[in-house]
Symmetry: C2
Subunit: 247 residues, 2 copies
DNA sequence: CGTCCGTTTCCGTCAGACGGAAACTCACCC
DNA sequence: GGGTGAGTTTCCGTCTGACGGAAACGGACG
C-alpha cells in the first residue's frame, strides 16, 4: 500500500485489482488509476488486458467491476472449495432447526472474515456478508477465533478494542477473562456488542489436526435470550463440518 | 490459450492464474509453469509476487492454491454480489418447501455456469457446484438459458449436442422443438438427460429490463415425477429474485 | 551415498513497459 | 449551436525492469 521500492508490472496489476473492495465495487478508470496510484494511461493499458481476460468487466454505465472469471477463480480457493462446501449441509440443518442467521468465519490477521451465511427472509438483518471482514472483539465468531489465536494476535487485538456499541467490550482485562471463559466453556456469546438488537452464540470448528480453523455461529435478535440452549446443536454441526473436511 | 504475438507481463500473470481450474485446483510450480507455458524461473518470480499479495498460497504439501484474497475479490463480482445475494432468500424458501436441490445458473457462452446451490444432507447428489460450468443442452437451467439465448448461440449449441446419458437430447430438430416448448410453457424439464436418476424443473429469472439473466431450478431424484407442480412456486421465487435485484 | 525431480537464486542482455501529451467522446449548460 | 470539462483512448520515443539459461540447492527415495 505504501512506498514499495520497485514497482513491478505484477504489483501494478495487483494494485489495480486491489482497488476494488466491498465499499467501492464499481470504479471508473480514473478512480482505479488513483486508487492504484498509477498514471491513467498505464492503468488504461493494464485494465485493457485484464478486461480481455474477463478479470474485470464494464457494467452498464461504463464503470469497471470485478469479472466473472475472477469469481470463478475465487471459488477454487480452499476457503470456498473446502471449508464452505463442507459447512453448507450442517449450516443448512442448523438453519432449519432455528430459522436464525447461521454464519461461519475464519480469522484473517486481526479480523474475522465471513465465509458463508444462511438466512431466510424472516431472520434478523446482520452486517456479515461472505468475503467481508468484521472486528474480532465484537462478534461471536471473532471472540472464538481470538480465544484460540496465537499470543501475538491476542496482544494486538486486546490493545486496541474499538467500541462499536455501548456494550462492546473495550477493557483489556475483561476481554482476556472473556477469552478464557470461551476456552473453558467451548462457546462465545455476544449481546449487542456489534449492533443493537442482535446477539450471537459461536463455537469453534476444528480442522484435521485439532486446531481451530473456523467458527460457526447463530445470530438472533436480542429478544431470544435462551440462545445458549443451542450450544449442543452448534457443537454437533461443528463436528460434522470437521468430519466432512477431512474426507 | 494458443500463440499470442506479444506476451505481456500481464498476460503471463493471467496465464498463471488461468492454470487453476476445477479439475486442478492444486498445482506445483512446475505444473503451473507448464500450464502457463512459461519457463520455471519466470513462473517462480511471478508466483512469488502473487504470493506476496495473497493471490495464491501454498498449502500443507507445498502446492500452490488460489489464495484468500482472490476469493474475496471474487465475491465483489456482480454474479456474487448482485445475483447471488438477491437469490439466496428465495432459494432458501424453495428449499424449505421442497427439501430438494435448488440451483441458479447464468449462461456463459455455450455453457451454464452455476452460481449457487442449496442442498441438505438428504437431497439427491448432483454435479453442479458454484463456479463450475455444465452443458446447456442437458440441464434444466441450461435449456431455459438456451431458449432465451441469441440465435447464434442456439445455432452453435444445436450443431453439437454431445450425449451424456442415454436420454440426452442429441437431435437438432428435437432440441429446437424443446426450446420452443420452453418459451411457450415458461419452464424446462429434464429427465435423466444429465445423469441417471435425476430430473429437474427450471424457470427463467428476469433482469430489470425483462431480459433473461439467469435460470432457477429444482433438481430431484427421478422417483418424483410430479415436479411440474412446483412450477408456480419456482415462478414466484424467480419473480422475487427479479424484484430484489432491482433494489 | 548417488540419483532424480522440483525449487530457488543469480545476473547480463534487450524486449517490452512506461507515461506525457494530445486527440477524442459525451454530457451538460449557456 | 458551440463552449466547457471530466473521463477515456491512442500514440510513440526513452530507458528500465523483465527475461530465462544456468547452476546451486533440497530432500525423497532406494
Amino acid at each position: 500500500m505504501a512506498a514499495d521500492p520497485r514497482p513491478s508490472v505484477t504489483s501494478r496489476v495487483l494494485a489495480i485489482l486491489g482497488a476494488f473492495d466491498e465499499h467501492r465495487p464499481r470504479l471508473t478508470l480514473t478512480e482505479l488509476a488513483q486508487a492504484a496510484d498509477l498514471p491513467v494511461s498505464t492503468a488504461h493499458r493494464l485494465v485493457g488486458e485484464l478486461r480481455a481476460w474477463d478479470a474485470v468487466e464494464r457494467d452498464a454505465d461504463g464503470r469497471y467491476v470485478v469479472g466473472r472469471r475472477l469469481w470463478k477463480l475465487g471459488t477454487l480457493a480452499p476457503v470456498a472449495r473446502e471449508l464452505r462446501e463442507a459447512s453448507l449441509p450442517a449450516m443448512q440443518d442448523l438453519y432449519e432447526a432455528t430459522h436464525e442467521n447461521v454464519q461461519i468465519a475464519v480469522r484473517e490477521g486481526t479480523t474475522a472474515l465471513y465465509v458463508e451465511r444462511i438466512h431466510g427472509k424472516a431472520s434478523v438483518p446482520v452486517l456479515s456478508r461472505p468475503g467481508v471482514p468484521l472486528p474480532l472483539h465484537a462478534t461471536g465468531v471473532g471472540k472464538v477465533l481470538l480465544a484460540y489465536a496465537p499470543r501475538e494476535v491476542v496482544e494486538q487485538c486486546v490493545e486496541n478494542l474499538q467500541p462499536i456499541t455501548r456494550y462492546t467490550i473495550t477493557e483489556r482485562g475483561r476481554m482476556l477473562r472473556e477469552l478464557a471463559a470461551v476456552r473453558r466453556l467451548g462457546y462465545a456469546r455476544t449481546v449487542e456488542e456489534m449492533g443493537y438488537g442482535t446477539c450471537s452464540l459461536a463455537v469453534p470448528v476444528l480442522g484435521p489436526d485439532d486446531e481451530v480453523v473456523a467458527s460457526l455461529a447463530l445470530v438472533t435478535s436480542t429478544v431470544r435470550r435462551d440462545l445458549v440452549k443451542f450450544a449442543p446443536a452448534l457443537r454437533v454441526a461443528a463436528a460434522s463440518i470437521t468430519r466432512r473436511m477431512s474426507l
